[in-house]
Symmetry: D2
């Protein structure tokens, strides 16, 4: 049975979020076809999914640029058609009134528990204000660097105590956001490689709250292709010797990942997948910030492999994509599917959603075709 | 239960055949690992497959260059390591004594029935001489142009009559070869896009003889990638607008396909697959003869697609492969698997072998990952 | 000394022309920088060149779509920024009033001489109306197929007689346009591979009229790169074995060149250059119409070459360009430079402009760096 | 007048050196054509150049693998044809007797002056033993990291004093080699980006000895293409926004450059050239060690540029080369040309040889076509 579903975006003024919101408004208005929306083509009971009209958006961000300004920038960079931008500008201004200030460790004073409570209140207010059946919280904030392990990350009671200590900053922002979301009883999706929910203490919190969650790190470009292509080499018994990759990207994500520290998590989540698929091969990988590409991302991969009698061969590809145009419909899909899973009473990591992620939670299945089957079956059973 | 299996190669002195034979000898001698051999990695009862020692090779060709000379040429072009060539040269000369003259319409006089009988006798003699349990006949001759439809192609009795008319040449060489193979009770594999067994009359002959068969047109390069990549666009609801391709190849295949007539069958079998996978899109496709590439094949594909909000994106790849190094192990795999199917009493087209072919017989499944599953399941059940 | 210069575009409503006109208006208004305008960076006496304000545009076309509508289409395909389009829309409507109906053999009745007279009158009226010192006529109409040679093409007197015969259509439209331009005393530029001025009779007419002319076929993509890269292989004594190319293009040019007949001239002009540069090598070349690319053109070239001790190596490139954005500033440059040459009293083919063309008139120099030097020197001497 | 010329290779057992020696022997025996040898195609007085027979090879290295073993490895990796290797194996063993132990700071005891004297004696003995008119010393040792500046590097007298102090190691090995070469009165070529001769003190030594020298860092792949392509963007007034590059290489050079410290010099010499050509643009650049590529090097460059009206376009290329096959003939060319310059009485840096180098000494000219002209003119005047 269909129900009104909130979509709460952490990082609501970023490229991915702005594209998702703009697209949602355009879909509602029938201005565009749902290209890239996977839920639209799944063979399933579509009545369990909220319609475009039934998805209501709010969110947090730490910058204050108006959503329509942000969308205008994206239109200038070619990501959003001008005509669509114009048609939904009013709608964007309306959504803007639903956005709240996010948590930033630098500007925050007081305990992290207090910060989490404030974030949680924003979500529960939103849910009440719109009489929503549930809110799916999706993290699309800037990628954070990996965090050093602490005992508090492994134990919910320890964690709760540490959060209340105003002297400590025990959780990175993404994990504090996940914590806040779970306390409100909201299912949670990690679209980034940041720590987020991936700590035993938060997994335990989700379990206590009986909540489903999914992640991590949306799979939209180079890694998508790798998980499509690598199984071919395996199936054909070809011997991959090396798989080199270079990613050129601009935009906020490019600027952020120019910092090697921030990029570390991303590079690790990419590498994990490849190793899972074809084992340990030479696999140099780079992410370069190329501002003039704006919202585009170019990925070049060079795969060197051996065949029968040691014949040396290669495959190379260049992917030229608008990253946020690939990510945004998946964010809408995830809101629908995780919302439906929650309505269905499911909890814990949702391995059937591995299809969407570079580093899937709840499963080690990286092969895209297998993930497609898992998703299809799970959705058909909803 | 394992049994001695003949592998009869139509086109036995070509690149694919010579590479398959050289590789088989090298595998027997433990000189190389079975890279590219799919049967080696299938999770199945391996005792139903002939070992490398149990596969005995013979064949037809219309040229008379000694097999070791042909292999030496392939070594010079970088396809076969020199050390392997040297080690198996004696073995190649031994196999050479098992090769017989093929059928060529230009040099043949008399009825096609007589020609077929001669081809069949070569196969039955070979089977008897080596006390083989069966012979799998694999067509790796030069690609033929499509043939105009004749009523005789649809009706076995009409066909038999026409074959006996010395004035007529009712079957193209590949189909006459298939006819001969079937009359000897041998299962048959079409590794080329030539007409071969694909005529109702020959399908009927296979039925009467209770024989399994498989085809058509080995999938080793551009098409392999297309059947791997196209399902990704579908799964992600991305809108492919055009898919352009250019193939540069040298070798015998390059020279042969330089003739637009001969290339027609190949281009058609490639196009059919793409349409099946993503529907009708702009899809210009070229095959160019570039002699200096010798045994290498370069394929470049450019896929233009639209995502969310109409964002225009592209994927391009360049494949740089040794075609025969990709094809040869599959020929050995097919001998093993079709041999096992015959031993198992299976007959008719074997759809589970779609994995190997551009234009699979007995199924319309072109998606490589699905084909991989079908093969795995079928092999596990053998 | 600076003078007012007309730019008369044959094909004035096409992509190249519309982009050139839009750009000229934007440059006049200071909305954009003169990126791609070669004259702006030449080290020369800039006072001999008309300023943007001093270039006045008129032209012929055989379609009647308003110029602002055409520019709007180009804005939608990403070629022209929306803001620029909006700012110059009035200017485009003003230029539209200067456009006249071109000559089309199908709709024309009467002799070709009469047609030429009408075209010429349009040009002289335009010159008078705006008190222009001269008009440079540039052919940017759709590419025409090669024409069979006729004795009239070689002899101006024979030609004049034939043009007056209403039963004959002795000149293709591009050549009739060149004829008309020359009769008005206007210098002429062939930006297309169509026959245009390339007939002894028209060359003689230019000589009699003491007019300079330049051509043929603007060099803006694959051929530009070839004339840049091929000299490197020569300078380094590397042995190019094959140079394969595929061009994917949409737009009017794509649709037109989808016709193999029309493409013939283009393919020939491309091939001539390569042979001139590196001699006779295997060089398959394709032009494919891919409508969804709209105004973009993708070119892929694969160069296979041998080095020391026969080492086999390759270079491949993919060019992703907006063809008209590359061509349009060159059209403005040519108007300026050919105008200046005319003012300077030069006549005949201008080999110093080889820099701009795939198939340069008056020289066999195809090497881009040499052409760059020739242009620089010539311009410095103006 | 022709004269016998020694070629003394520092790093004589490396890939470049071994390929150069093998090729020289093959050229002498008439086994191969001089593909890649620039001197063969220069329009000049060829009698001033030593013939292949007149070039006698010796050298230093710090490893002791026999030259024929090294060549055999290169044959196995596809760089040298097997037949050539077999034909010249005896010749390689003969050259091996001319090789001596190089200088390595770790194994050396005593002052650097003593080490230099020993290296110098090896060279003068070689010259005397073979009655050579001169010896050209070419540095093809492994790339060294940049060195911190010392006052001794700027002042020859200070340097001489420091070299005699057994407690100090004031020069990196490449510079000590250059020092030794110059003291013997031999012209010197830096084929690597190592410090080598690039210190005021050594430049002064060359001046005192009246010796010509050339360098630095052979230009054979990505940089060659950059210096060919970048001038095109400039000539066409196109606005390059970013130029990203990735290099994948195996072999000794790959292993060495895997160390970021060693790679630094290489990356810097590459970057300098690009900045010189197109100014400061975003230009991320990587060198990755990919051992399975063995002697091959793959370079991928992605150039993003803007044209008229801000149109965003790109050019990307993939270079697939055998690095040493590109470098080796240039080493022979340099021996010939620098030898001829010496015979001609020239001294100091030879800017006319910029054609060969990433980071040319004596000039800032990086444009390949200009360098080609400079070389042609200079050679014609010899
Ligand atoms: N295809 C894709 O675009 C794709 C795929 C996978 C993952 N991702 C991830 O999605 C995330 C968003 O990408 P983007 O391109 O939209 O980046 P962006 O830089 O445009 O947006 C990130 C937004 O997060 C906000 N933010 C940062 N820290 C915050 C905090 N603590 N609380 C609330 N908001 C905060 C920023 O102010 C910014 O508006 C990145 O982590 C990226 O790696 C994107
Ligand atoms: N990856 C691959 O190499 C690949 C993939 C799919 C299909 N194929 C097909 O396999 C076939 C063989 O390819 P190849 O590269 O070995 O070509 P090839 O030209 O090297 O060999 C073909 C051989 O067939 C022989 N032949 C021709 N007509 C014959 C006849 N009537 N009877 C007997 N022999 C005959 C020729 O003499 C030649 O020796 C081609 O049809 C090709 O299209 C190859
Ligand atoms: N980079 C480039 O775009 C480039 C480079 C080299 C050459 N060219 C050539 O420039 C020409 C124009 O290219 P485009 O992309 O603008 O094509 P287009 O199809 O957009 O425009 C051609 C225009 O010419 C008009 N036309 C056709 N026949 C005519 C006639 N007889 N008289 C007057 N007008 C006529 C058409 O109606 C159309 O408006 C083509 O021949 C193309 O091959 C273009
Ligand atoms: N196309 C090219 O191959 C190319 C282009 C430009 C520059 N280079 C440079 O040329 C050099 C050689 O390249 P390579 O591929 O032959 O590398 P390599 O590693 O195969 O050979 C280097 C050789 O130098 C020897 N060596 C190291 N230190 C020495 C010393 N102090 N004295 C004497 N010998 C010493 C090593 O033992 C080795 O045999 C590298 O610096 C490389 O960067 C090569
Ligand atoms: Na089928
Ligand atoms: Na010419």
């Amino acid at each position: 049975m269909r129900q009104r579903c909130g979509l709460w975006l952490m990082g609501a003024r970023g490229s991915v979020a702005t594209t998702a919101i703009t697209g949602l408004l355009a879909l509602r208005a029938g201005l565009v076809r749902p290209v890239g929306c996977v839920t639209e083509r799944l063979d399933m009971d579509h009545t369990v999914l909220p319609t475009w009209d039934e998805i209501i958006v709010g969110g947090h961000d730490i910058v204050s640029i108006p959503l329509d300004k942000r969308a205008e920038q994206l239109a200038e960079s070619g990501l959003i058609p001008h005509s669509v931008f114009t048609a939904v500008a009013d709608g964007l201004r309306a959504v803007d009134t639903e956005l709240r200030s996010g948590y930033h460790p630098v500007s925050h004073t007081g305990s992290q528990a207090a910060a989490a409570a404030r974030l949680a209140a924003d979500i529960t207010d939103f849910r009440a204000r719109h009489s929503l059946d549930r809110v799916v919280v999706v993290n699309v904030t800037s990628t954070e660097p990996p965090v050093p392990a602490l005992p508090e990350h492994d134990d919910l009671d320890l964690l709760d105590r540490a959060l209340n200590d105003p002297q400590r900053t025990v959780l990175p922002p993404s994990s504090l956001g996940a914590y806040a979301a779970l306390t409100t009883g909201s299912p949670y999706v990690d679209f980034t490689p940041s720590p987020g929910i991936r700590m035993p203490a938060l997994v335990e919190l989700a379990r206590r709250q009986d909540l489903p969650y999914a992640g991590a790190d949306g799979k939209t470009g180079e890694t998508l292709l790798r998980t499509v292509l690598a199984p071919m080499f395996v199936a054909r018994a070809l011997n991959v010797r090396s798989w080199a990759g270079t990613n050129l990207l601009g935009g906020g994500d490019g600027a952020n990942l120019a910092d090697p520290d921030q990029a570390k998590g991303k590079l690790e989540s990419k590498a994990r997948g490849l190793a899972q698929l074809i084992g340990d091969v030479t696999a140099p990988l780079h992410i370069d910030n190329v501002p003039d590409l704006a919202e585009r991302k170019i990925a070049w991969d060079y795969v060197s492999f051996e065949g029968f009698l040691g014949a040396k061969m290669s495959l190379q590809f260049t992917w030229d994509g608008y990253d946020s145009a690939l990510a945004a419909p998946l964010v809408l899909d995830l809101a629908r599917l995780v919302g439906a899973a929650h309505a269905d009473g499911q909890s814990g990591a949702l391995p059937a959603l591995a299809f969407f992620f570079k580093d899937p939670l709840g499963t080690d299945e990286h092969r895209f075709a297998e993930q497609t089957r898992m998703l299809a079956q799970w959705a058909a059973d909803l």
